[in-house]
């Protein structure tokens, strides 16, 4: 039935090749990039992007989007961080709070889109502004550092063996991300939630007529995205010395861009968590790697924008060609 396709038809393969090529270029042209610490710091700055990308994959599969992930992430980190600093909230509770805040805003987005019927980009553009406003109403709040009490949460992402100069740091975060990737890939392909996410993206009307409570699942899609954004807030706090109020705008591009590079369909109905992971790694390489080859970090915004357009165009051209031969 299904035609044999070249593996290069899978955008994930192309994305992986691009990631490898970028790494090779950096390795050749930059001495600093070859150091282990560069590798570590690159990973540090990838976790929150990966988590956002994992989350936003679900709305994108339904043909929607969540533009509030960047500002939302910073907003949750700020609220929780402030409570830790000023009100003595234990860090464990702060982490839970981040997840809950993410979940709550996710549900709000879900209701706006799935129940009230607002266009996803306009609903989430608004919540993007709202979370950004809430975020900038707060003051800059560093979460506890590794040495301070409660600093243990940093070591979720980086295990340290030994001390001093001989210390070896193991990036446990990446293991966590890989585990999460397989869990979410399972959720997407083998659970009802995942299946209905794809079904809503493919044909919401038909899904509803099959007796599925699409409103509930549509809300769930954004709730899951919010929850993962909450997790991203923890990862963001773990690597950022001070979470600055009023920031986060533009960070959503790292996540959304990554998902598109990973081959999600621009019109919904198809997506893969593994693809999102690979795609985000491409974005992270662009983001953290450009300074190594002497390009200003602002180039990253331009390049991310261009990469987004190119990956969506690949999807559209592919579809157009498939339609022409049908």
């Amino acid at each position: 039935m299904t035609k044999k396709k070249s593996i290069f038809n899978d955008q994930r393969v192309i994305a992986a090749l691009v990631a490898v090529a970028l790494t090779v270029v950096y390795l050749i042209f930059s001495k600093e990039f070859r150091q282990y610490s560069s590798f570590l710091s690159m990973l540090d700055f990838s976790y929150y992007d990966i988590l956002m990308a994992f989350g936003v994959t679900f709305p994108l599969i339904t043909g929607g989007v969540d533009l509030s992930i960047g500002t939302g992430m910073v907003c949750y980190a700020l609220i929780a961080g402030q409570l830790v600093r000023n009100n003595g909230l234990p860090v464990g509770a702060a982490i839970v709070l981040c997840l809950l805040l993410g979940l709550a805003f996710g549900i709000i987005n879900g209701i706006l889109v799935g129940v009230m019927g607002l266009a996803p980009f306009i609903a989430t553009l608004s919540t993007c502004m709202i979370t950004r406003g809430v975020g900038s109403a707060l003051s800059a709040t560093p979460w506890p550092t590794l040495q301070q009490p409660g600093g243990w949460f940093h070591s979720i992402f980086k295990w340290q063996f030994g001390t001093g100069r001989s210390a070896f740091k193991f990036p446990f975060g990446i293991v966590l991300m890989l585990i999460l990737m397989f869990v979410l890939e399972f959720v997407l392909n083998h659970t009802k939630f995942g299946r209905y996410t794809i079904a809503i993206g493919s044909n919401r009307e038909a899904t509803a007529l099959s007796g599925i409570n699409v409103k509930f699942y549509h809300v769930m899609v954004y709730a899951v995205c919010g929850l993962l954004t909450g997790f991203a807030a923890v990862a963001y706090a773990a690597v950022t010395p001070t979470v600055q109020p009023g920031t986060g705008a533009g960070l959503e591009m790292d996540g959304i861009g990554g998902v598109f590079v990973g081959g999600v369909s621009a019109t919904g109905g198809y997506g893969s968590i593994i693809g999102s992971f690979i795609g985000t790694m491409v974005i992270v390489l662009l983001k953290t790697g450009l300074p190594y080859i002497g390009l200003q970090s602002n180039w990253q915004q331009i390049i991310t924008g261009a990469v987004l357009i190119i990956s969506v165009m690949i999807d559209i051209v592919k579809k157009r060609r498939a339609a022409a031969t049908a």
């Binding site: 039935m1 794809i198 079904a199 038909a206 899904t207 099959s210 007796g211 022409a324 049908a326």
Partner: protein, 504 residues
Amino acid sequence: MGDVILTMKGIDKSFPGVHALDHVDFEVRSGEVHALMGENGAGKSTLMKVLTGIYKKDSGTITYQGKEVEFHNTREAQDAGIVIVHQELNMVGDLTVAQNIFIGREPTKGIRIDDKKMIEDSKALFKRLKIDIDPRARMKDLTVGKQQMCEIAKAISHDAKVIIFDEPSAALTEKEIEDLFVIIRDLRAQNLGIVYISHRMDEIKVITDRVTVMRDGGYVGTLITKDCTKEDIINMMVGRVIYEEPKTHSMCPPDAPVVLKVEHLNAGRMVQDVSFELHKGEILGFSGLMGAGRTETARAIFGADPKQSGKISVLDKASGQLKEVTINSPEDAVKAGIGYLSEDRRRYGIVVGKSIIENSTLACLEEYTHGIFIDKKKEKQVTEKFIDELATKTPSADQLVMNLSGGNQQKVVIAKWLVKNSDILIFDEPTRGIDVGAKNEIYKLMNKLAAQGKSIIMISSEMTEILRMSDRIVIMCEGKKTGEMDIAEATQESIMDKATRNIS
């Protein structure tokens, strides 16, 4: 025929401005195939949507298996054993066949969906129905006929007591229809109640036990199929005898010049090597089953869809000679004097949110502008002229098109092409969704246009329409032209023969 399993009594339903169902009665017995018939807009689909909980009834009772019931959504109806096979395909293209059949009730092991079991169950189901489909194939890669079969399999898999088929044969080939009938007879033997909605009189006679006829949202009567004739049913449907006499000979003079010549047109799977000629003042009927490629041919000629190859020539008014034209977009086609009236007016014909004026001048706004500014006075004049000429029923030319009836909307589309003064008009299912009275008006209008020298291609799935209107008939089947005949020699049988020629 067994006991009454389902009774609907005095069902009433109104939508804003429309009394869609007026105290309708309907019953189904187990072990019968009960036809539900009526013209477009008679209320058949609405009645079934009330039954399955898509619409809420205003009054009346539904008794099912001896108990009064009211379903709030299709899920509840399904669970109770009443399932509907929709006219519009109701499938999720990105999921596989098995995933579609079991959507909403996937077997699970813990939280994991048991895809293996789903595939096995689908295979068993297909085996029972004697259908050959791979349950792992993606739904959108299947042909329309196969998708329809999956829908039926899905309905049957629900362990249903009552199955409603809403125009199931519209998209099927002759062979597939035969298979479907085998399945339906099999289900009847298992004592299920089957509701069969269709327009095709021949099918009704072949497959059904009883016929209930509806007209304009009301109940007309119920007959035993084998005791009544086609004409009886038609009379009940239309309320008066207007069994149309077919045209006996072409109204188009034999020496009329060719205005459109299509040679070896190829566009995808649905249009393969199609060639034909259209004469001035002629109505050329395009007949065939649903999915025969007629609409695709029209769209390819009109430049709405891309084509791979083919030569299209149009009569050049200045020289009086045929001249080849390149048509890559509707823009090119309109410039060449072709107008297209789609079967799906609301999607492709009119801009419903805009006024009659804005719709009428849409195709040739450049003739109603001074410089870059629109001449609103001139626009209104021409619109009003065509409202009079076509007898469009509307309070004013500023009326939004969405407030007009189907027939009047069709007139607005016709007006659009008349304002543009297009010489070649392609009518795709010109009377779909239009009530009987307005239908006759559209027919008269088409005849008048042809008499005025416009050349018309009419795509129609209704045999009576083809035989009544056409001067000449082109028949297509599975993307190929399989026949061409003059109206004088055309019969239902000869057309059907050619329309099913390629189908094995």
